[in-house]
Symmetry: C2
């Protein structure tokens, strides 16, 4: 693991991407070898940074010929060890594939290279009264390629779906170096198998995504954010279901707890939003062509919201302030050391009770650990963060994921399986499904060089 | 082709599904051997009608062991010869897989067996204030299995997407008889490859779909339908784009032409909607929690609508009357003999001109043929129907599909490739894409018994 490349292979990579884009020095490699939380640390003989799809093809073919495994890496914001070289793979960084087409205002679409950040897509769309429906806290680092490869979810799934739902086309390099390119962006196109949807969420195991055609949605003229306190998780789940039923333009519904709020305020230096300290917080955003403030206020009535724990914001600055209580969770938790991040979905009817039970499930295995919960309550998706564990101690991970599967939930809502959750995939997938996955993997990556340690590894 | 089964194979099928569900008499087979338009007529040694997924498994395994090709067939409403035994295949009818679960009102989902009709799903959903977003004129015959296998579109794609966008899970039998079952319906679930999305639209070539978990949407309290006249197709395309921008709840936008309107009125005995006879008609439906009539009326202002050609309906009976002008097109055209039905998507910017040009493209090849156009203008999707051609004369098909591809369009918007369009698939798909399709086909149907003459055949 981490053995250097032979001089001839290194020269071959340099001939493809230029010597400056073959990183072999330890300092240059280090940022690509560990995930940003610091939990997953590997080693690579080289980071190669192609500038075009043709260069990606040549890199993949060279790896296939040399029997070198490859980890594709975008903004390195993944949380399941799916984009770092944990088994000594070559890192293929897609960040230089950063071409962004003009916005197609007739179709409301854009073609983005894999290395374009979500933030750059948003900036380009904003100029035309549009936006990209996938948004998440890591927007200025996370790339189109990485978010497509992982079917990233984020803040607006409750209204618009995850990344797969935004995909109108894809360009990718398969394991044999062949190029799939279908970027026409037609609204309806039943000409064969849905390659874009299949590659989306395949976590770099079937292809290197090099570009995507993305649907854009109208940028609403008005938005309102409310942060409210609630007495318990089940009341929060029921309240959000009630709000959804009357607010079709509900854009986000985020849940977090008093402990997380306190940690965020202490760590980041924010003032608590209310004098009252409710056990549960929900942040909702509603947006539309007309001011939705009154509709939101009406929806909040009689749904368990604590009357002294309501903050409503309509102007952009104040909305961003309320969002910080939610979005700073990740940073605040990371100050306690690399967390174990378990991203799970529960059936909505089981979600409230699960939130109550998780700390006990964790404590039964690791009494000194601390549990932090936040997530996208409209989707049944919570992020269970556990601090105070050794990076390779996965007894808590197993206990929580088994509890999730036992309640009909998913062990990965939006982060993927990566290397972190491989051993539990069978909790959610039958032998027949795993065999089908393996057959598909072999079909598109017959040499098995693309992210071989991830998902099925 | 059409040779009888050996007595031992026939007995083996009868042991699986019961003798009454192995149809070998010519009379019993005939309804399964030809599509409803009468253009595609084949022959089968037997129709087998399993009642459960276990019986499907046994049928598929028997076919694999005997080297018998299988055509899965639902309601037999397909239009591209993808569900009839054109090469002497066994027909596996899914109509008896007709179990429908209770409506899950918390998740707004239902699990439907492959043989359940779309109409039955709608009826069940209606009782809970919900509906299924995929709706089409053949709703009382078309089945869940068939519409999933073909990624059916229909009338509401402009708002809700096609069938793939409604799928929250799938159950299917692969070519080796293994069963994929993932029907939990979680909103977010990144645990491996998107098998549901891959099988959706695979036209029976990768698996026999046996059940699906379907998302439902709220049934709007109010709906309004407007039928309007416009001076030409390009004005109609621009008008619909303008309406979409201000009507996020635009549910349908259907285009048809004066000739089709006249044919419908003459054939079905409807009275023309206007004294004026505009060249182009667009039918739009808008629905929501509040009465959208005023918003629709405001949107229609100044968008080229002819002032003496506007009909608006809010009550259900009158809305249905307006819809008949559109929905009876299929029946009316069929009275002229089996049409060639070419279902294509154009980029929106090229659609208006294409509609103008198609009759000339057809006439250049077949001067005596007649061309009928209608379709889903919001999606860029038009159905080019041509009558007066021999069933196997596909020169017109080729000329139209080449014109479509040359303008950046898709040769199949929502009907699929079937057997009818196989020879033109390369107009839209590169050798690398076709090779990837073939690899995926081999991965999930290694013996090549599932619909071998369809799509890639």
């Amino acid at each position: 693991m981490g053995a250097g490349l032979s001089p001839s292979v290194r020269a071959a990579f340099a001939a493809i991407v230029g010597a400056a884009n073959v990183l072999t020095d330890a300092d240059a490699r280090s940022g690509y070898e560990r995930d940003w939380t610091g939990r997953f640390v590997g080693s690579t003989p080289a980071v190669v940074r192609p500038r075009s799809v043709d260069e990606v093809v040549d890199c993949v073919r060279l790896c296939a010929a040399e029997g070198l495994a490859v980890v594709p890496q975008g903004g390195n914001t993944g949380l399941v060890g799916g984009g770092v070289p944990l088994a000594g793979e070559v890192v293929l960084s897609t960040r230089r594939l950063d071409h962004l087409s003009a916005i197609d205002t007739v179709a409301a679409q854009v073609t983005a290279g894999a290395g374009v950040t979500l933030g750059a897509v948003q900036d380009a769309a904003r100029a035309h009264g549009l936006r990209y429906a996938v948004d998440l806290a890591a927007r200025h680092s996370a790339t189109v390629g990485g978010t497509v490869a992982t079917n990233a979810g984020g803040l607006h799934v409750v209204r618009y779906g995850a990344t797969r739902a935004q995909l109108a086309g894809i360009e990718a390099v398969l394991g044999d170096g062949s190029v799939i390119r279908h970027l026409g962006g037609l609204a309806k196109d039943n000409t064969g198998y849905d390659l874009a949807g299949l590659l989306c969420g395949s976590e770099g195991t079937l292809a290197v995504v090099t570009a995507a055609r993305l649907r854009l949605v109208p940028r609403p003229a008005h938005a309102v954010v409310a942060l409210v306190g609630l007495p318990d998780p089940s009341t929060a789940v029921e309240a959000v279901a009630a709000w959804r039923a009357v607010l079709p333009d509900l854009e986000a519904a985020e849940l977090f707890l008093a402990a997380g709020m306190n940690l965020v305020c202490d760590t980041v230096g924010l003032r608590p939003p209310f004098a009252a300290r409710p056990p549960v917080y929900v942040l909702v955003e509603v947006a539309g062509a007309e001011d939705p403030t009154d509709r939101l206020a009406a929806a909040l009535e009689g749904t368990g919201v604590e009357h002294d724990a309501v903050a409503v914001a309509t102007d952009e600055r104040r909305r961003a302030e309320l969002w910080r209580y939610r979005e700073e969770h990740t940073t605040a938790i990371n100050t306690l050391g690399p967390p174990h991040k378990l991203d799970v979905t529960l059936p909505l009817g089981a979600l409230g009770r699960f939130v109550d039970e998780v700390p006990g499930i964790v404590a039964a295995v690791a009494p000194a650990a601390r549990t932090w919960l936040f997530g996208h309550v409209g989707d049944g998706n919570v992020h269970v963060n556990v601090t105070g564990l050794a990076p390779d101690d996965d007894r808590v991970d197993g206990a929580v994921l088994e509890a999730v599967a036992g309640r009909g939930g998913s062990i990965s809502a939006e982060h993927g399986i990566g290397t972190a959750k491989r051993r539990w995939l069978a909790l959610n997938r039958s032998p027949a499904e795993l065999a089908a996955f393996a057959a598909l993997k072999h079909a598109l990556d017959p040499a098995g060089i693309l992210n071989p340690a991830v998902l099925l590894g």
